[in-house]
């Protein structure tokens, strides 16, 4: 067996960020970021307000288009404007500070909207191709087989089954039919996380997931994130929860002025900060 194949899957690089820069007008927010994220890693990103943490996270799935640099994900450079970003975003979950549950949809529909609509779109494409195939087959000696198509109702039923499993897992299956406006912040955020999970993402990006929560609700969200971490989900987490970062992260990054100023294993990061900037920052937040 070759060396490569012996490597455990957790060694595989999932996201490879190279020379990432982002400017808003003449204001350069990200000044060249290089980072490899391996499968199963939990990366915590901390740093002072305005240093570009959110911008960095949002560049990873191209919610903001990078000004320069590359983001390799599953062998494709997402920063390349020619790639169909929607396809890759399905595999990159994102959880927002403000939850952003869809206000006009029930909890269940919040979770199933994307999986159903994406599966149905793929289904429609197969139907169109089948149509041409069966037409061309009339003239072919060797008939090409038709692609499998599924019933719309089946797609929906499957997505709903999965949604209920996920809701069950966070103990909110009784909320499936309610609208987000009736939920507490903690419930909203847990459902937002589950909504991301429904797409079976390879990585989830969290942008200060607990910053908008009342203190008594922070715990339930962090607990869910810990469970995800234990299940082996790859996570990038921008957070001000230093205790959580220290406990859950496999690596902690300190962002300062649009760059990764320091990175280390959590223990060393918090107990033996190297740069003066990080020492200063930690002394303020700890």
């Amino acid at each position: 067996m070759t060396e490569e194949l012996k490597q455990s899957p957790s060694e595989e690089v999932l996201l490879s960020i190279r020379g990432l820069k982002k400017s808003f007008g003449s204001h350069e927010v990200l000044k060249g970021i290089d980072l490899d994220i391996r499968e199963g890693e939990k990366i915590a990103v901390i740093g002072p307000s305005g240093c570009g943490k959110s911008t960095f996270l949002r560049c990873i799935n191209c919610m903001e288009d990078p000004t320069a640099g590359s983001i390799f994900f599953e062998g494709v450079d997402l920063a390349d404007m020619k790639v169909d970003i929607n396809v890759h975003r399905q595999k990159i979950g994102m959880v927002f500070q403000q939850f952003n549950l869809f206000n006009n949809l029930t909890v269940l529909r919040n979770i199933t909207l994307a999986p159903v609509s994406i599966a149905q779109k793929a289904n429609r494409k197969r139907k169109v191709r089948n149509f041409f195939r069966s037409f061309l087959n009339l003239f072919r000696k060797e008939k090409k087989p038709l692609l499998p198509v599924r019933k719309s109702a089946d797609i929906r039923a499957e997505a709903e089954k999965r949604a209920f499993e996920l809701l069950e897992r966070i103990g909110l299956s009784d909320k499936a039919e309610v609208y987000p406006s009736t939920l507490s912040g903690g419930q909203k955020q847990r459902i937002a996380i589950v909504r991301a999970l429904a797409m079976d993402p390879d990585v989830i990006l969290f942008d200060e997931p607990t910053s908008a929560l009342d203190p008594e609700m922070v715990g339930e969200v962090l607990d869910l994130m810990k469970k995800l971490a234990e299940d082996g989900m790859t996570m990038v987490i921008v957070t001000h929860e230093m205790g959580f970062a220290r406990e859950v992260a496999t690596r902690v990054l300190f962002m300062d002025d649009g760059q990764i100023a320091e990175e280390n294993m959590p223990e060393a990061f918090f107990t033996r900060p190297q740069s003066a900037r990080l020492q200063d920052f930690l002394s303020k937040v700890l």
Binding site: M94, F96, N103, A114, Y179
Partner: protein, 233 residues
């Protein structure tokens, strides 16, 4: 007074002018309703093009076209648009269409320009995080707009959209320029018969007023419904 009332009655019932009035009422409502429907479709599309991200060439070209479109329909009077449609484009393109159809199309195109502005402000009133969450899940811009943003903007734009409907109802009074028998024309004909205009024109005003009040009421009921679904647990 008795005399002019008798004259009106004679014209309205005995000579059967009520038929024209009903026809006119139908035309007025038809033009305004279908005009608004077309306007909402066109306006929604224009509004979405306007708020689309603009890195690629296509959205920019579309946006340019929409700007010209809105500029034309907002910058010229509806009567002129009707006249151009009916007396210039119709013969030039050799289309066989009656005046009401032309009026519906022109009203739709015209109202599309106004509705686009209404829709745009409605879309912009929805939290951008909603669109972002949709896009982050891998939904396309259009899918996110249709499933998430537009439904939420409806609540905010309903009163303004109602106003647009009222404007259209009243504006139908100019369609007699292209020989549509609308409410105004029907009542004017009654007056013309005896050169007695007091009753026909007061009644005309009353009919418009009733129509507008009905619409206002309808909108209020719809708004209340939407508010209720907001609180639904």
């Amino acid at each position: 007074m008795q005399r002019i009332w008798d004259l009106f009655y004679q014209q309205f019932i005995t000579y059967g002018a009520y038929r024209e009035v009903l026809e006119g009422l139908l035309a007025t409502v038809e033009i305004a309703v279908f005009g608004l429907l077309i306007g909402v479709v066109i306006g929604t599309l224009i509004a979405m093009v306007k708020v689309m991200p603009k890195y690629k060439r296509l959205p920019r070209v579309l946006s340019g076209i929409c700007t010209v479109y809105v500029g034309f329909f907002r910058g010229t009077p509806m009567v002129v648009q009707l006249l151009i449609g009916y007396f210039v484009l119709l013969p030039a393109l050799k289309i066989a269409a009656d005046a009401v159809t032309v009026a519906i199309v022109v009203f739709g195109l015209n109202s599309g320009a106004y509705v686009s502005e209404i829709m745009r402000s409605g879309i912009q009133s929805v939290d951008p995080g909603q669109l972002e969450a949709g896009r982050a899940l891998g939904l396309t811009f259009w899918k996110s707009m249709f499933s998430i943003v537009i439904p939420q903007s409806v609540k905010n734009i309903l009163p303004t959209l109602g106003n647009e409907f009222i404007v259209l109802i009243k504006e139908t009074s100019v369609t007699s320029f292209i020989a549509v028998t609308d409410l105004t024309k029907a009542f004017r004909a009654i007056g013309d018969a005896n050169y007695e205009y007091i009753i026909p024109y007061l009644m005309l005003a009353a009919v418009y007023l009733i129509l507008v009040m009905l619409i206002t009421l309808g909108i209020r009921i719809m708004e209340r419904r939407l508010k209720r679904s907001d609180r639904r647990a």
